[in-house]
Amino acid sequence: MTHRERTLQQLDPLGGMAVRTITILGAIGIVIFAIAQTFANARDIDFVGLAIVAIVVVAACAAVLIYSSSPLRAPMNRTVHLLAMGLAMLALVLNAGSMWRSNELIQDDWGPSVVGVVSLVLAVYRPARELAVVGSFAALFTGFLALLQVHSLQSPVPPFVFVIVAVTPVLALSLAGAMFVRVSVTTLVRWQSRADRAARRLADRSVEGIARSVQQDRVTILNRDVVPFFAEVLTRASITDEDRARASQIADSIRRVMVADVDRSWLDVVVEQAAGARDRPGAEAVQDPERLASAMNTDQRTATRAMIVTLFEHQGFDPDGFDVTIERDGDEVVGTIRADVIRGTTTVRSDLAPYLAVFRVLFRDLEIDYSASTVRIRFAYDRQ
């Protein structure tokens, strides 16, 4: 996934993952509430079958919410939003239908509250504008349905009051969710731009230090052969056959080092650094013959870097059983990270879960396979 919508789940994958508990509790809550209110208003029910189907539909809606909010299925798309809201609206209609002839009070119907809570629970996963639009349409429909029920309601107040009573929970909770997302996303985006500016300033300050370190690396290599050779030629002020042979030999060795450097991708460097040194186990684990790692964007590189560092830091990680493969698959690139975990296999899932939530937002077709002692993560991205 390269294009990101302005949802909390996509702009803050960790936050989205962390509040899933609220989604699950909300989903369970609407089912319990619907059952409890159905029993409490049993007197009003004319069609028991419809009342039961209404609860089944609420349960289906809850299942959709719980299933689709998993970080491993992120990001939740508009279809899921519409499906969940559609099921909630269907439950609302069935609930109203089950009491069509005998409903006394509209404020003790569970339908409007369920629709409102579903809209609120979806807030983390969808953009503010979409939540507001879908919520407003749901409120309009709820109001219309309330008008149709006026014939059975046992209250002397004008029909418009029933519309207000029915619409209020739907509209209030939908728009509250939309506002929560709008404010959170705005704060997040504003902070991000400030953080980016600060990072650029830090980077500017770091340039000199990095340049010196790069130069030091070069000087170390050159001091070994080139500097003594040049100094010797200059002192002698003449060139011999031996000098010519040595010059081409030194040039060859420098060229080899340069070619090897050019062949090393950022991913090789990340793995080497995580392993500790080039000659440590796991340091040569990257198989990327076509240098496709360079097609990852900065966000994808950051997430991959964090994932690899976490794997290496895991207590049961076995660097000998680690490899990263990056290969072409049609128009896209498929990456596979495979790691053997010889101890702590139970904690590796929870350790990796937050990073996988981030991966799910940044890459396509994420597949995770935990076998006895091996974790295999497969992901895809564009070749750009």
Partner: protein, 401 residues
Amino acid sequence: MSLGLPGHLRPQSIGRAFARGSHVVSLICLLAAIGIVASVQSAHPEYILWPAILALAPMLVVLWLLDRFRTRFFSAAYVVIGGASIYWYALTVMSEYPLKGTDAFVLSMPRVALLLVGGSGLGILSAIVWSVIALAVAETVLIIAALQTDIPIHTDSLSLVVLGLVILTLLLMRMAQWRTRHVQPDLHRAARDEQLAAMRYTIEGRAAAVMHDTILGHLAAIGAAPSGPIGRELQAQIERDLEIVVGEEWLADPSSTVDAQARNEWQHNPLYGVVQETRQLGLQVELSGDIPALARLDSAAALALALAAKQCLVNVLKHSGTDSAEAVVYGLDAGVTVMIIDTGRGFSEADTGSDRLGLRHSVRKRIEDVGGTVQVWSTIGRGTSVVISVPTDSEAAVRPS
């Protein structure tokens, strides 16, 4: 990269977003209460219910202020003024309309609106405390109004459920932050490392280019040189290589630290093509100075400068008797100057033959056309310096005043 807010900013952010969301609910609840009262009033003109609508007006105003300025002062003002508004509202409704108890929907709406004061947006715990205080105030004034009007006092389950949900949601959000507290810094650290790695990669590329242009080139020159005394120029170049390798000159070179975009811009500058082209013709061109300044030129000036510089470099190759020249770029506020220097045989501009039209036409005419100037200093036997200056905005420079 967007990885979410860092841990220390999250409680404030959630508190603020929660407060704004709560205020939306409060607004809709108050509008619902007003809508219900207005509907009943229009259906039953015999009741005097309209003062209840007026009673909620101050509460709406303070809610608007609270939403704009989320401070403790406005939170307190909302609870106090809202409490008074609810009292007046409840007293009007209870005394005029036969309600079954204080748990009626029409009384629950302002009660919920008050309890969703949302705190001052300073944090989760503060939001919970403010909600509890606000509900206590609302319940108190409703009980007082009920006692005055003999309406039965019932527990309002709706506002209690809303309060419970507010507390539960805020606590769950707090716990959710707790779960990710270790991971967030790791991701932010990875983002910073990634940025530094990308920068190092760029600088290594520059270092490799320096190495390629200097050391490897001159090793190859030694490899191809005839046996015997080393040439003066090669000797000078090798000395310069050693200076570059052990010195920090290339670090100070602005083009070494410019980002990829600036490098890309330079490679698309016509002067870059000219330098490459004349190098291929056999002239060793050493380019230095404020190269990124060339990017400030508009396309006409950049092209004129490049073609003029090309003519000067071709002149060096054809007439100066040397195979090396230096081109130095100076970036000034109003324009860019390029000085082309050679240590060849020099010439007198007045004495140049009719075949030396290049300097007059290809250089002077072209540069003057874009509002620039050309100066030539040449001493026979000592070399030539040509200074070409062009304005950054060539169109403005040549526009008739």
